[in-house]
């Protein structure tokens, strides 16, 4: 990929950078010029985007076909006859054992699990990371090292010890218990994420605030939070996806009335009623993935450049 920049020899590095900066922090739109640089940048991005989109295309196309068409046709062909039957079936009719009400059954449960779990796990981990980066105390590194090693333990191994801990706490089988489990397993990666991000922010800011007499929480809310939106978005992406798609914890640590949507998804995809209904599988997948997708799209807007830079100058 170095080519992309190196081959750009009609422009000097200076000119390139000028353009970059001119378009930069003040937030102006890039110039509309069909320069070689733009062709290369957009060309690459478009090619890459196509690679990412191919499986989605196959999924959507398949979910709109009837089973006879799937059996004969190739998977890339557009549907001859569009049907929304598989979507209806996946959402409202597919059977899990005796319950034939599709994914809709677990949707609200998933929301009830995901919202508190995401908020609490991110809140806890960001404070951890902040304390580790800016307010280090003796022994903190040791606990943190244990935590990072913990990220590598396969979840399944921890099931039985956690069952014991939750039982002793009296929260086994409750929503609270599940939120705690998600907070625990999200902690290693998220804490690392925040710690490293906060540690990379300009130190002068923190020092200046200290001189002004700001304390632990004031600095966290007034200075660190506003400067860290992109990393909060990343944390949100990680947690929303991980928790929304979680199957194992959702069934092991709760009771059926809290079973998340993935239980139905697993049952739709993994059990076969006679013939494997690929169209329903694909529709169910897209439906299940829709919530994280919406979150990505909406929260992604917080990725705007210049927040950090602006704060530094201000």
């Amino acid at each position: 990929m170095d080519n992309m920049f190196a081959s750009n020899n009609t422009l000097t590095a200076y000119e390139k950078e000028t353009r970059r900066i001119e378009a930069g922090p003040s937030g102006r739109k890039p110039r509309r010029r069909l320069s070689r640089r733009n062709i290369i940048v957009y060309g690459t991005l478009i090619v890459v985007a196509l690679y990412y989109l191919l499986p989605l295309y196959v999924m959507i196309v398949t979910s709109l076909k009837g089973m006879p068409e799937i059996r004969v046709g190739n998977i890339f062909a557009p549907p001859l006859e569009i049907t929304f039957e598989p979507w209806v079936k996946a959402w409202a009719e597919a059977c899990t054992g005796l319950n034939c009400d599709g994914l809709s059954r677990g949707f609200w449960n998933s929301v009830r699990i995901t919202v508190p779990s995401v908020i609490i796990s991110i809140a806890v981990a960001s404070v951890n990371g902040y304390a580790l980066a800016n307010w280090r105390f003796k022994g903190a590194e040791l606990f943190f090292t244990i935590l990072v090693v913990g990220a590598f333990i396969p979840y399944q191994v921890m099931i039985y010890p956690i069952v014991i801990v939750l039982r002793e706490m009296g929260v086994y089988g409750t929503l609270t218990g599940l939120v705690i489990v998600h907070t625990i397993f999200g902690m290693p990666i998220l804490t690392l994420l925040f710690r490293n991000y906060f540690a990379g922010l300009p130190e002068e800011l923190f020092k200046a605030a200290r001189v002004d007499g700001a304390g632990f929480w004031t600095i966290y809310f007034k200075i660190m939070l506003p400067m860290s939106l992109p990393i909060f978005v990343v944390a949100m992406i990680l947690q929303v996806t991980g928790i929304w798609n979680d199957f194992l914890f959702g069934v092991v640590f709760t009771r059926p009335e809290y079973y998340p949507m993935t239980v139905q998804l697993n049952n739709i995809v993994n059990s076969v009623q006679g013939v494997k209904e690929y169209n329903v599988n694909m529709a169910a997948t897209i439906l299940t993935g829709a919530v994280p997708l919406v979150v990505y799209f909406v929260s992604g807007r917080l990725f705007v450049r210049g927040i950090a830079a602006g704060a530094v100058k201000g």
Binding site: F144, T145, M187, G200, N270, T288
Partner: protein
């Protein structure tokens, strides 16, 4: 050790940083009770012959002897090494390059980012299913290319024991590189504009600025990414189950699957714990010294 020296200078050591200590209580509890406690628990039970329920009937190293005599475990380790190496290299390179492209003040950034990230929203069960399809020789990519006239074209990684692990790698990269890109992008956005200005003034070419200035400044983000990718690699399980169930035969087995299968299908907790202990020891040998240098050293501000 700044923290140490500073602590000894000040008299009221316990009250210093009190807020930070209180705020860290959940972390300390999790680290000690769950991760340390759970690990010790697992290691202890790996020396027992626990079957369905954990029981303290010790059998010495029996579980470990059996583990290392099992062909499936050996294959699992080899697969993990291959998968891990390529997964790490490709994720980092692709993720960074995409992030650098996204950082060129492009239009439609939001759309591009979502496109690259959406696979991450889909559960592994289904990622596996879709790629199982695309790679199926009868109606996937192979059949399409053949129908275009190249009849000798052959591409069926999931059904060839020698290359099946690469078939899984393709799906894993498709699913995970979007997140790596986002992490890198967040890192790039945290870098001060003035750095770019300074580099420009000095006349340093763009690619050199990236390699010599920006990447070293993004050290923290790289470390985070590395840990995320690596822990995902060690734990890879669902994707293999969904794509191949470890097949053909046992050609695409991975350690986490061995652990899980022996814990719950074979109802031999001792064997599963022994395997997970081996995984953990390997990870610990690599990580602990590095982590201590990285996090414990006095390099950072106190």
């Amino acid at each position: 050790m700044t923290a140490l020296t500073r602590g000894s200078v000040r008299p009221n050591q316990w009250l210093r940083n009190l807020n930070a200590k209180i705020a860290s209580i959940p972390m300390i509890l999790t680290a000690v009770v769950i991760f340390l406690g759970g690990t010790i628990w697992t290691v202890v039970y790996s020396f027992t012959n626990s079957k369905l329920l954990p029981r303290l009937s010790f059998v010495g190293l029996d579980q470990y002897e059996r583990l290392w005599a099992a062909p499936r475990w050996i294959i699992s380790i080899q697969n993990l090494a291959v998968y891990g190496f390529f997964s790490l290299v490709f994720s980092l390179v692709i993720g960074f390059v995409l992030a650098a492209l996204m950082d060129q003040k492009i239009r439609f950034e939001n759309t591009f980012r979502t496109i690259m990230l959406y696979p991450f929203a889909l559960s592994f069960i289904v990622t596996g299913l879709v790629w199982q399809w695309l790679l199926n020789p009868q109606f996937g990519i192979q059949s399409i290319v053949r129908s275009l006239g190249w009849t000798s074209f052959s591409f069926d990684p999931l059904y060839d024991a020698d290359i099946v692990i690469y078939g899984i790698l393709i799906a894993a990269l498709w699913q995970g590189t979007g997140l790596v890109m986002c992490l890198m992008l967040a890192g790039l956005r945290g870098i001060d504009e003035d750095i770019w200005k300074a580099a420009r003034v000095d006349g340093i070419p763009m690619w050199k600025t990236y390699v010599l200035i920006i990447i070293p400044m993004m050290r923290g983000v790289f470390i985070t990414t590395l840990v995320i990718i690596a822990s995902g690699i060690v734990k890879v399980y669902d994707l293999v189950v969904a794509q191949t169930s470890g097949g053909p035969g046992i050609a695409s087995e991975v350690p986490a699957k061995y652990v899980y299968d022996y814990m719950f299908q074979a109802q031999n907790l001792g064997q599963g714990f022994a395997a997970s202990t081996m995984m953990l020891i390997t990870v610990a040998i690599i990580i602990v010294p590095w982590a201590y240098l990285e996090f414990g050293g006095g390099r950072k501000r106190g």
